[in-house]
Symmetry: C2
Subunit: 355 residues, 2 copies
């Protein structure tokens, strides 16, 4: 049995030592074939662990794609679908997505649309995907520089999380994942926020003890609002500006990891919260100080401001052509559907640049 | 009010004179924008009717794609998504799919995956799409010669059907649509089958009176099994061989309309039913005679047999690498999950060729 199981409405998240649980999920439906999607990194570092632990009756078919957000687009989907056809995958087959957010989002999207949907299990191997992409059923790919522009909501058969995979990651990847954990604390859990602020060295953190409350926050929010019609939008804190910064950086010679961009977004949107929704100046300073301590400072050139605003205008979270934000009234106390004007948004970027 | 409303679990089908109902559907959710997808045919013949009748507060945005199954693929989806972005379509927008099966399947797929899903209404303008594609939430596109290989299940906000649109169609299109109506009768309604056999001239048929019972059959089947896990497979009668014949013809210089291919499939699969599930010889003759009377005979070259078998092997309805059929025990009395071997399948094609 896994050390900890989080039960959601129609699937479970198994945390640490999940191999027997995963075998049961696979055995229950008598799948004809099992295919695993990897990138060159997870093929090298994670697939051997999976193959050794799982020992299936079925031969494990493997599809490998190139690592990186820049491959999260249609050409890669077409390759995955071609490979699924070539392997004779049918609706009685199961797909395992072994990797970070790109593998989970794109592999899930490909599974959910192949022959109108085959079952899939998410095995997130990065901290970011473990804490963020594993709950909520959001699947998709980027399109025309818009992140996750094409996709759908569909739940997996199970999510299997083990911090053992984090040891295979560069420290920047772990730091990137921490941004979502910080976000969860800022929108819903002041006690976890105080805990996180004590982190000095990312190499010595006990991730299981941090992951479980963070997943608990996300579970509560998502189950209340599975299709992001309302309250789930609190999870967008830091993401309106963060996504724009990330999309813009993706086109440049200095791309940012998702969490690094969201860290910038959280500082800027905390500034907006200070200006618009009465976040205390003390909290703004505390958030700014801790995030800069973990992530350092990124140079944002003012010449990029028009592009950043344009990307925000095209954000799929907008309604009626207005740029939509989640803001904080205080730490742990968010407000959804806050509108900000271009002038104030640029002021928040100036605030970040002035630090 | 429309002349007839069929209520499904989460949406309605409005049949004939549906304009007020459609206005109510649009008004209820206060959509920010309304976009209509057309091809060059429905832009010319159907869009003027829509524009005249609907008189919306919102400006009706129009996206036009090329007509024809050969355009039901990713390049067209990418064009549609680009246009949706260019028009600033957001999650508070509504898409109207005005056209035949290609517009409905592909437009629905694009809407259901754009920004993880925007609302859409199906306005099928061909007999085939009115009777077949309007219930069941099947959306998708072709991939690598496999029909509807990529797609998903999602219901529209409403389906609006009016036989007035049929007057804009060439008679071959109407005849193609009749195949699904014939199929519904063969799998579920012997009385409608006897009625259909009295059809002499397709120009004088009262389609409303035929559409309503046919849609009733499909509604019952789909509501019992929304995700095609079991009984819904009765709707696949004629489609295993029919889809292969259609896919193969699509690559040739003599493409077939969907219903023309399904007509061939129904004759072949009635032959399989005669050989394997005791369909009386008398019924086989009756089915063969009526379908040939309506559709005539198509030459199938024996050199295409290996390709046809290969296409059937890749059919998404298969499980465990076996070619899956729905067969008849008698007219109105089907059996799902019937397996046939290549030899018998080719024998059924020989039967068709011998007619």
């Amino acid at each position: 049995m896994s050390a900890k199981t989080i039960q959601l409405t129609d699937y479970n998240i198994y945390i640490t030592n999940f191999w027997n649980d995963l075998k049961q999920v696979i055995g229950k439906k008598n799948y004809s074939k099992v295919v695993v999607l990897v990138d060159e990194n997870t093929r090298q570092h994670c697939l051997p662990i999976l193959q050794q632990q799982l020992q299936l009756e079925q031969k494990l078919l493997v599809i490998e794609i190139k690592a990186g957000e820049q491959h999260k687009h249609f050409a890669t989907c077409q390759y995955i679908w071609e490979q699924l056809l070539a392997h004779g995958i049918d609706r009685q087959s199961l797909a395992l997505n072994l990797g970070g957010g790109v593998i989970g989002d794109m592999g899930g999207f490909c599974a959910a649309t192949f022959k109108r949907g085959i079952d899939f299990v998410q095995i997130p191997t990065t901290l970011l995907s473990q804490v963020d992409a594993s709950i909520g059923g959001k699947l998709g790919i980027d399109f025309q520089t818009i992140k996750n522009c094409i996709g759908l909501f569909k739940n997996p058969q199970a999510v299997c999380i083990d911090p053992v995979f984090l040891k295979t990651l560069p420290i920047e990847e772990v730091r990137s994942g921490l941004a979502e954990i910080i976000k969860h604390s800022l929108i819903a859990d002041e006690i976890q926020w105080k805990n996180l602020m004590t982190i000095e060295d990312l190499n010595t953190v006990d991730w299981s003890s941090i992951l479980v409350p963070s997943l608990g926050i996300k579970k509560t929010v998502v189950e209340e609002d599975p299709f992001e019609k309302g309250w789930r939008k609190i999870l967008n804190f830091g993401h309106t500006i963060g996504h724009a910064v990330e999309s813009h950086a993706l086109e440049s010679s200095h791309p940012l990891l998702h969490g690094e961009a969201i860290a910038i977004g959280m500082i800027c949107e905390s500034y907006l919260s200070y200006k618009q929704t009465n976040l205390p100046e003390e909290s703004l300073k505390e958030i700014t100080h801790f995030i800069l301590h973990i992530y350092g400072k990124r140079i944002i050139d003012k010449t990029s401001y028009p592009d950043l605003l344009d990307l925000m205008t095209k954000d799929k979270k907008n309604e009626n052509d207005q740029i939509n934000f989640t803001m904080l009234q205080s730490i742990g106390n968010p407000l959804i559907n806050q509108i900000s004007d271009p002038k104030t948004i640029l002021e928040s970027l100036d605030y970040y640049c002035s630090l």
